[in-house]
């Protein structure tokens, strides 16, 4: 996988592949990806998850209209056993 320094990466331009940090790992995205397309591509559509982009919650109702940009830090979380 092509490595990009996310912190200094320029904003994606037309046709350029973007790279985000997804749960702490680099992840490549097609241009014009939204949160909704990312979730679908991960096979997580319809799952009970919550999402943060750059440390801000993005409500489920806004996933489809939230574009992703090069260097975005995305967290996808769910419920697990704990006390």
């Amino acid at each position: 996988m092509r490595r990009v320094n996310c912190g200094n990466a320029p904003q994606s331009r037309d046709g350029a592949i973007m790279q985000i940090q997804l749960n702490g790992e680099p992840h490549r995205l097609e241009p014009e990806a939204t949160l909704a397309t990312l979730i679908e591509s991960l096979g997580l559509g319809g799952r009970r998850i919550a999402i943060e982009v750059n440390e801000e919650i993005v409500p489920r109702s806004l996933h489809a209209e939230t574009p992703l940009s090069d260097g975005d830090r995305v967290e996808v979380v769910h419920a697990i056993g704990g006390g």
Binding site: E52, E75, V76, G81, G82, G83
Partner: protein, 265 residues
């Protein structure tokens, strides 16, 4: 989920719960065992953790919230694993999104991995931020009556001192400080952490605690479902004993059978 005669339900932030036993979902063999044990415990409030989703692995993987449906239980997301106020606040906001706006959370901000002892300065800061952001905060804390009061002043809806270290099963190591917290608290006080067996839970309730939260004591018993049932009874027995008000202790004996009418008199 029966209540003791004349008892009132546990009320936390305006929510009413018949059971005073709150349970976690960690450390079980599988979700079947989790669901069966929690059912046997009679608990209404069930805690869980928030973690990164494993991506690209088995999309059909079972979901904890299928075993513990939010329609049946009051879910209490925790901030376990957070060592800063900032991480704890982020985790609570993620949990609120995960549960469609449900705002009851268990705040815990830890000091180090060896003791999992609460970091009270970070806990106080997180509590203030969360309360201002509209959360109902049940807070795990040390068994320090001053800190408990400070958390209450910041608007926490329940204070949850440890009985002993998380996952240690050492019971109530300092009943005297727990008694001080109970004496001054104006919000529900629940023991959270350290319970090892049924008598520990009963003792907490006999002292007047409003409830007990536990995970390992059930999940790490050799027979978790049986222990869950034992804990349910211990909580109810302890609560009833508290309400009944125990007899005074005496230094000398006092016969239960009358002296009068003995055949050797």
């Amino acid at each position: 989920m029966s209540s003791a005669p004349h008892d009132s339900p546990l009320i936390v932030a305006g929510r009413r719960f018949a059971s005073r036993l709150l349970v976690g979902t960690g450390k079980y063999r599988d979700f079947d065992e989790t669901a069966t044990a929690i059912e046997a415990s009679g608990a209404d409030v069930v805690t869980f953790a928030v973690r990164r989703t494993n991506l690209g692995q088995n999309p059909d993987e079972a979901n904890l919230l299928d075993a513990i449906p939010p329609s049946r239980y009051t879910l209490l997301p925790n901030t376990a694993g957070c060592y800063t106020a900032k991480d704890a606040v982020r985790t609570c906001r993620l949990a609120r999104e995960l549960l469609d706006g449900h705002n009851l959370v268990k705040l815990e901000v830890l000091g180090d991995e060896k003791t999992l002892y609460p970091n009270v300065t970070e806990t106080l800061a997180a509590a203030e931020t969360l309360v201002n952001d509209g959360f109902d905060v049940m807070v795990y804390t040390s068994d320090d009556p001053i800190v408990a009061k400070e958390l209450e002043k910041r608007g926490c809806c329940a204070v949850m001192p440890l009985g002993s270290l998380i996952g240690s099963g050492n019971g109530l190591l300092n009943p005297a400080t727990l008694a001080l917290i109970l004496e001054h608290a104006e919000v529900p006080v629940l023991v959270d952490a350290g319970i090892g067996t049924a008598s520990d839970a009963a003792l907490a309730m006999e002292m007047g605690c409003d409830g007990v939260l536990m995970n390992s004591a059930i999940a790490h018993a050799k027979q978790p479902v049986l222990m869950a049932s034992a804990m349910r009874k211990a909580i109810e027995a302890g609560r009833e004993a508290f309400l009944a008000e125990r007899m005074p202790r005496r230094a000398s004996a006092s016969p239960s059978s009358p002296f009068a009418g003995r055949i050797n008199a």
